[in-house]
């Protein structure tokens, strides 16, 4: 279990936590996971919730589904950003055109009025 040697006290990989829940770790590695559980409420609560599950073999599917949902959430925002950008540019061009027309129109009107006076 060399790959587990450098776990920080409050950090463990999903794989290691799963192996712990399945009772597949050596007492030393189990102790390291428990140290992480004791030093982080997040890991402690999660391990408690997961260990109470009847079908732990479903966990990879559940995590996969949730990550898939997460990816769709982050992509939605990306699409929205892309859609919004051309609209913003269009509004900017329209605003500049309107302002130019008003300015030129105003100048011509004043110029015309002064000429007639």
């Amino acid at each position: 279990m060399d790959e587990h040697k450098h776990i920080l006290p409050d950090t463990i990989s999903d794989e290691l936590l799963m192996q712990y829940l399945e009772g597949k770790l050596s007492p030393q590695d189990a102790r390291r996971v428990e140290e992480a559980m004791a030093s982080s409420d997040f890991i402690g609560d999660a391990a408690e919730g997961l260990s109470a599950m009847d079908n732990k073999e479903n966990l990879p599917h559940i995590v996969g589904d949730l990550n898939h949902h997460l990816a769709s959430l982050t992509k939605q925002q990306k699409k929205r950003l892309k859609k919004n950008r051309p609209l913003d540019i269009n509004w900017m061009v329209i605003s500049i055109l309107v302002l130019t027309i008003v300015a030129v129109g105003g100048y011509l009107a004043v110029h015309f009025m002064l000429k007639h006076h």
Partner: protein, 188 residues
């Protein structure tokens, strides 16, 4: 479950998100905690479907909230968001919430008993406080931190159930922190 950004820390991922506004960085960060979030929601809601829904709500909340303000301790923050969400769900269903289940804002500053044990002047204080804990908490903390025993070994030695051992250690640690804070303030 492979993390393609394994070499990048949470802090770096969060900074990349804040700099670019690209939600994909946030997605990569949240993905690291999917299993822990699901487990936490399972602990409180005790139902797979409800826990899955809760995690999806936490994802949505993280995407919305992090766009509004800066978070420094992402792991503690996302844990508190999940825990608060679950407690609110339970409260809306009229379930009683125990005081020890209430979110602890300072939880990112967990009491590092192992580190304290290496500081001589803190050992005396720690040992004093340890004696003020209930017997079960005292025994479990002693065996876990001072004798490096696993939960299973402690359960075997004491006859307590594994989950009880875990809760004695967690609650004992919380009580130790409260006691030590009190004593340290009293000395100032």
């Amino acid at each position: 479950m492979k993390d393609k950004f394994a070499d990048i820390t949470d802090e770096e991922l969060l900074n990349k998100y804040y700099q670019s506004g690209n939600n994909e960085w946030l997605g990569a960060l949240l993905e690291r905690y999917t299993l822990l979030l699901f487990g936490t929601c399972m602990k409180y809601l005790k139902n797979e479907t409800l826990a899955k829904d809760a995690v999806q709500q936490v994802f949505l909340k993280a995407i919305t909230e992090l766009a509004k303000y800066k978070v420094t301790y992402f792991k503690s923050w996302v844990y508190l968001v999940a825990k608060n969400h679950c407690l609110m769900q339970l409260r809306s269903k009229g379930k009683v919430i125990l005081k020890e289940e209430m979110p602890d804002i300072s939880s990112h500053e967990d009491l590092d008993i192992a580190a304290l044990l290496h500081k001589e002047k803190d050992i005396v204080l720690l040992k004093e406080c340890l004696l003020e804990l209930g017997e079960e908490q005292q025994v479990c903390i002693n065996l876990f931190y001072l004798h490096d025993k696993s939960y299973q070994q402690i359960a075997g030695d004491t006859g307590y159930e594994m989950m009880k051992v875990k809760s004695y250690i967690q609650n004992g640690k919380r009580n130790l922190k409260i006691l030590m804070d009190k004593k340290m303030k009293g000395r100032k």
